[in-house]
């Protein structure tokens, strides 16, 4: 274990920020270009994970355990969110026979 964690030594914190920003923006692009509600959900999961990794990186950088506890809560929240969201998608599919979010544009008015 010691040799594995030694390999992280020397990576600047900036590179973690850049990497997490790229993953977050990939999630944003996924939300913008897809119409399948389930794939949009997966993009939201990508965004949540990018933020989680950044919290853990800052927590390790500062030597403070609170960040990792917060990531634990975010994971519990994500599990709850996915359960409710997928239930909503199943209900939408039952009513409209598709998971296309454009079918739901009636919700705008």
């Amino acid at each position: 274990m010691e040799s594995i964690t030694n390999s992280i030594q020397g990576v600047p914190l900036n590179h973690y920020i850049l990497f997490c920003t790229i993953i977050f923006c990939i999630g944003v692009i996924g939300v913008l270009i897809r119409r399948n509600a389930i794939v949009i959900f997966m993009s939201v999961e990508l965004m949540l994970n990018a933020v989680n990794l950044l919290l853990v990186a800052f927590s390790a950088y500062k030597g403070d355990a609170s960040g990792q506890v917060f990531v634990f809560f975010v994971m519990a929240l994500a599990a709850a969110e996915v359960a409710v969201g997928l239930a909503i998608i199943v209900m939408i599919y039952r009513n409209t026979n598709s998971t296309d979010i454009n079918v739901l544009n009636r919700l705008k008015w």
Binding site: I4, I33, M42, L53, A76, A78, A87, M91
Partner: protein, 165 residues
């Protein structure tokens, strides 16, 4: 040090494949690989508890839920709704603009110190458990209520309306 860049490259590639693959089932499978690379990132940061939780909760529970719903709804490439090319290009351009803006603002921070694990014991189950059950006991209990309400809500929403049938 090089291991971080290799794993970061793999995560970016697989997350791009998630949003650009046409078949939603392939998207879920690529997302599982992306989460696995995130687990490796947590292990590299010596956050062992979070690595295990990420492995079990994300790759286990959430991905099974996604795959189950996808198979239940019988979605495949033929029924996949696609946006027009114009909207796709506009979406990619908008996302890239966000990326450039964020990176530009982070450049203003200047060069940062290298990440050195000051306290490598921090992510172990023992220490994290002590913090979790001392300072964060109330949020921990409240999150259990959140999970309970989410479970009740999911069952209530997904249940078929009896009067309708």
């Amino acid at each position: 040090m090089n291991l971080f860049y290799l794993i970061a490259f793999l995560s970016i590639v697989f997350s791009l494949l998630v949003i650009f693959s046409k078949n939603p089932v392939y998207s879920v499978l690529y997302l599982i690989i992306t989460f696995f690379t995130f687990t490796i990132h947590y292990i590299l940061l010596n956050a062992q508890f979070l690595a295990i939780v990420n492995f079990i909760v994300y790759m286990g529970a959430i991905m099974v839920l996604f795959l189950f719903v996808l198979m239940l709804l019988n979605l495949n490439e033929d029924s996949e709704p696609m946006k027009s090319n114009l909207i796709k290009i506009a979406g990619v351009v908008a996302g890239m603009c966000l990326l450039v803006t964020l990176i530009g603002s982070f450049k203003a921070l200047g060069e940062s110190n290298p990440l050195i694990l000051q306290n490598p014991e921090i992510g172990l189950v023992k220490n994290l458990g002590k913090v979790l059950f001392n300072e964060f006991l109330l949020p921990f209990e409240i999150s259990s209520i959140l999970l309970l309400t989410a479970m009740v809500g999911a069952v209530l929403i997904a249940k078929r309306d009896i009067k309708k049938v």
